[in-house]
Every structure is written in structure tokens, then in C-alpha cells.
């Protein structure tokens, strides 16, 4: 059994359900993540894993159920507001801004620093004692007129972006087009770009897809590393069982939109239902 920890809850999914026409892609999903945890979400193809990410980040609106992030009900909020509140993600099939440079990709993530007024309002409404009353600043005009205020901000953004690139070891590619990067570094860049929004919760959708065993091992260390460095809570989807078992503290197993198992890696490994679900699909374990 899983011990109930006293740590702060970062994410709670309550009866999360979504229907596409007749298909119930996710059916009453209940789950939680506590501060600092690294949790896996696995399941055969089409189980509904990515759909859960899309509901957390506001791309899809759940048919019913709630998404609670840091004790704030964010169900149905706009994706950009959810990002500003501190949820960042990567995509299953990499979605970099390929015409832009590596540095610019990260800087785009930092644009949220200027435009997070709506999220600040949400936070202030949620708890006026802890959060400051949001102040709206005409950043757009400052940016066009290049006021000292803006130039200072731009410098900070650039410094921070370069620091991030250094942290993920992509600094030497900074001025290269994102599409010119090899596959592995592209995955890393997508993570760096997500980190630029200063998230608390990071959602990784199959970060090891398409990597060879050595690259996968490096990625594992990389994720452990950024997790500590940026004090992240991470939810990750992955098909590579060795990877999942090696890194996750807890695992949810999804099949046809329903949770079929939840527990520690070694419990999942020996779970009969999980083995059956995967045998019907492909042998992973």
C-alpha cells in the first residue's frame, strides 16, 4: 500500500472524464501528485494518457470531473492561464518552433513573464493574504517603445534563457535553428522551453520515445537532475518500462480510459491486470 504522505498536494484529478462522441476516452480518473513527486502514467496505445495531459493543460475541457492544481480548481481555464499558474508540458511528437533559434524557443517560454496578469488575478482571488494584488503593466507599449524597463526585462530574459540552456547543456547551439538540432537535443530543448515558464508541475509526454538505450539512460539522469535543480513535481507518460520503473516513485496504469492499477513500480511489475493489458497489445515487461 502507498503511505499517505503529509506533503502538500500539487495536483488532484477528481473523476476526470471526457467523451468524444460515443467514445469515453478517459473514464472517472482519480489521481494525485504531491510536491516533489515523480509519478508515471502508463498504458497501452490509445489508453487515454495524452488526453489526460490535454485536460490538465486546458486544451480539452473534461466532460465532467475536476482538475485541482495547488488547491485551485483550474478545470476549464484557458491553456495560457494554466501555464502561467505553473503547469508546463512537452508533447509526444516534438512541437518546437522550428523556424526560430534554440535561444528564441526558450525566450518564447519566458514571454509569459510579461503577460501573466490573468493568472495573478486568479491567485490573488484564491488567497489574498499570500499573493500580492496584481498590478497590470503596459508591457506591450514598453516593448514597442523600448523603455528602460523593458530593456532591463529583455536582458533578464536573455540571461535566464542562456542559463537554462547551460543547465540542459544546449548552450553551444543557442543561435542554431531549432530544426537543425538532432533528435535528442530537440527533446531536451522542449523541456528547457517548458522550464522557461517557471513551472511547479512538469508534464512529460513520452520523453524517451525514439531514443536508444544510452540516450534513454542519459535522459533519466537529466530528468532527475532538473527535478532537483528546479524543485519540480513531475508526471510522465512513457512506454519504455525500464525507464519508467527506474525513475518513477509511483505509477498509474491506464487501459481504455480507466485506471487498472496504481502503486509502487514493483507492485505494478507483478500486477496480473497490467500484464494482461499489455499482453493484448505488445509485450513490454
Amino acid at each position: 500500500m502507498i503511505e499517505i504522505s503529509k506533503k502538500k498536494s500539487v495536483l488532484k484529478l477528481e473523476n476526470l472524464t471526457i467523451k468524444f462522441g460515443g467514445l469515453t476516452a478517459v473514464d472517472s480518473f482519480n489521481g494525485y501528485l504531491n510536491e516533489g513527486e515523480l509519478v508515471g502514467l502508463i498504458g497501452p496505445n490509445g489508453a487515454g494518457k495524452t488526453t489526460i495531459f490535454n485536460m490538465i493543460t486546458g486544451i480539452y475541457k473534461p466532460t465532467f470531473g475536476n482538475v485541482i492544481f495547488n488547491n485551485i480548481d483550474i478545470t476549464g481555464m484557458k491553456p495560457h492561464v494554466i501555464t502561467h499558474l505553473g503547469v508546463a508540458r512537452t508533447f509526444q511528437n516534438i512541437r518546437l518552433f522550428s523556424e526560430m533559434t534554440v535561444l528564441e524557443n526558450v525566450l518564447v517560454g519566458e514571454h509569459s513573464w510579461l503577460t501573466n496578469f490573468a493568472a495573478q488575478k486568479v491567485l490573488y482571488k484564491h488567497n489574498p493574504k499570500v499573493y500580492r494584488r496584481p498590478k497590470w503593466k503596459p508591457w506591450f507599449w514598453s516593448a514597442v517603445l523600448k523603455t528602460p524597463d523593458y530593456l532591463k526585462m529583455e536582458r533578464e530574459m536573455r540571461d535566464h534563457a542562456l542559463e537554462l540552456l547551460k543547465a540542459v547543456d544546449l548552450e553551444r547551439y543557442a543561435n542554431l535553428k531549432a530544426s537543425a538540432l538532432p533528435y535528442g537535443p530537440q527533446r531536451k530543448l522542449e523541456i528547457a522551453r517548458a522550464l522557461a515558464t517557471k513551472p511547479m508541475l512538469l508534464l512529460l509526454d513520452e520523453p524517451a520515445a525514439g531514443m536508444n538505450p544510452q540516450e534513454t539512460q542519459e535522459l533519466l539522469e537529466f530528468i532527475e537532475n532538473i527535478r532537483k535543480r528546479f524543485s519540480l513535481t513531475i508526471l510522465l507518460i512513457e512506454h519504455d518500462m525500464k525507464f519508467v520503473m527506474g525513475i518513477c516513485e509511483r505509477i498509474y496504469v491506464l487501459d481504455y480510459g480507466k485506471i487498472i492499477a496504481h502503486g509502487l513500480p514493483k507492485e505494478i511489475q507483478n500486477n496480473k491486470k497490467v500484464i494482461e493489458a499489455y499482453l493484448g497489445d505488445e509485450v513490454y515487461v
Partner: protein
Amino acid sequence: MKRVSVKMNFILTTILVIGSGFFLLFANNSFGDYWSRIITLIAIYAIMAVSYTLVNGVTGIFSLGHAGFIAVGAYTAALLTLPIHQKAMSFFIQPLIWPLNSIQMGFLPATIIGGIVAAFFAFIVGYPSLRLTGDYFAIATLAFAEIIRIVIQNSYSITNGALGLKGIPSYTTIWWSWGWLLVTIVVIGSLKFSSYGRALRALSEDTVAARAMGINVFRHQLMAFVVSGFFAGIGGALYAHWLTTIDPRPTSLGIMLTFYVLIMIVLGGLGSISGAVLGAIFFAIAAQWLRIVESPMNLFGLKIPGIPGMSMLIFATVFILIMLFWRRGIMGKRELSWQLFYNFFLKEAGDRN
């Protein structure tokens, strides 16, 4: 590769601007009236093109409503500068309503108000249209521009309807048009190369990823659309005072004009400000040159009558050819920069040594 420093960039750009100023001064004084007018027109076209490429190129949403905002700017400014006695004379079907019938102001405030009113219309048009994507957005903006034109055509007490406005003072000189072009380039360039511009370029590539990066896609698109509308209005105001007569025919301030500006920005490279300016220069000169094909000709003893619309036919063909075989245009998405020159000339020279 050596980088051209910020200071060097600044110095070279200042020299270029001052040099261009002297060139214009020279052109104004010694090229004669005809070419002075063409050079003025080039800047007007460039203003229209740079503002259009902000939406269709940088932001990557395909609007076909640009002429609508140009028309709004043209009419607004013209109604503000027209001498009162001229208004009383022109509006003989229905008199012009108050307070327009008793206002006459200077060129600068009229131009700015023209821009602001056009920006307001861009907001009204953009707000509902930007809920749509892709082709639907293009069709919606096209429809809105046509609505603007038809309303102008039928509001006799404001715009003098199909009769149009005549006797607009010919205020637009080389200095006004090139001055405003400088302002347009500085503002839109500054926007493009800011955090907001990066957000626009990002969402033009992938709206889903842009949203996940915390960009309010709708807001940013609307912002670009309104800024573009403002400068389209400025361009319209200058155009009206260059033409001195404006009317709401589709061939003057209607879809035809949108199409012309579209050719300019596609030719220059969608999303490139310097490309838009180059496109405008090419277009303005080619349009003059192509007037020959519309006038009667005597080809090897064969008398060819002037074929109206012939130049349009040629433009359309060229446009299709560009779209098919040369989609990146002159500049692609790049900008002319000193770095580019440096790389091109000095590096090659270095290689040869």
C-alpha cells in the same frame, strides 16, 4: 563568423537613414514631378505592405481585409482635411452631416485620426473574425472589407457615396510619405523584434505549442491585427492626399488594392519587413512600366488598341508564378541587416584571399 556590433549597426543605420534623406532631397528637386510622385507612392505602398506583412507574414494569419482599413483611413483623413467650401460643393446629393461639414484640420492630425479610426475598425473586424481559423478567417475578413466598401458606397451623407470625394488637398509629399514609412518600419520592426514579436512568430508556427507556452493566442493575433490596421489607415490617409480623388469602386480602394499589396508582400517574402519594402518598390515601378501595355501600341506596323486590365493580367500571372516556384520571395523570412551584408560581401572577399 564575426558579428556586427550593436554600436556599428546603429551608426550604419543612422548613416543610411540620413543618406536616404539626402537622396530624397535630391530626387525631389531634380527628378521632375512625375518621378517625385512615383517615389512618394513607393513609400505609401511600402507602408501598406509593411503593415500587411505584420498580419499575413509575422503572425501567419491570412487576412484579405487590408484594403478595408486603408479605405477607412483614406476617407477619415480626407473628410477631415477637405476645405469646408469644397465639401459643400461636392455633397450635392445629400449634405454632409454635422460635425464633419464644419471641420477642417491639418494633415498630421487628420492622418493620425485616420489611423486610429482604421485601428478601431480592425478591432471590430478582428474580434469576431479571429475566432475563425485558416480559410474561414480569410473569407470573413474579405467579407468585412467588402461590407466597409459597400457602406461607404451607400452613405451619401458621410462619404458622398458612389460620387466619392474630390478636391482633396494634395498634401502628401515625399517627406510625409517617407517620414511615415520610417515611423512604420521603426514601430513594426520594434514590435517584431520584441518579446511580443517572438510570441507572434511562435504562434504563427504552432498555435497549440504557443498556448502551452502561455501565449494568449487570440489576444496576440488581435493586437497584431489592430496595429496593422492603424498603419493601413495611415497609408490610406497618405494615399487619399496623393490621389486627391477617392471613390469606393472595387478597383480603387477595394479588393484590388488588397491584391496589389498581397503581391508586394509575397514578392518580398512573407513576414519580412525589408522584403515588404522591396516588394513595394518593385511593384510601384513595374506598375508604371506596365502602363505601356495598356496604351495603344504600334507593333511592327500592327496597330494594337490599348487593352484595359492588361497589366492586371500580367500581375496575376506573375503572382501565380511566384506562388508556384518562388514562394519564399526576395527575402524569405529574413530581414536585410548589416550582418547579412557583412556575411555576403566581406566573407566572400575573405574567402577569396
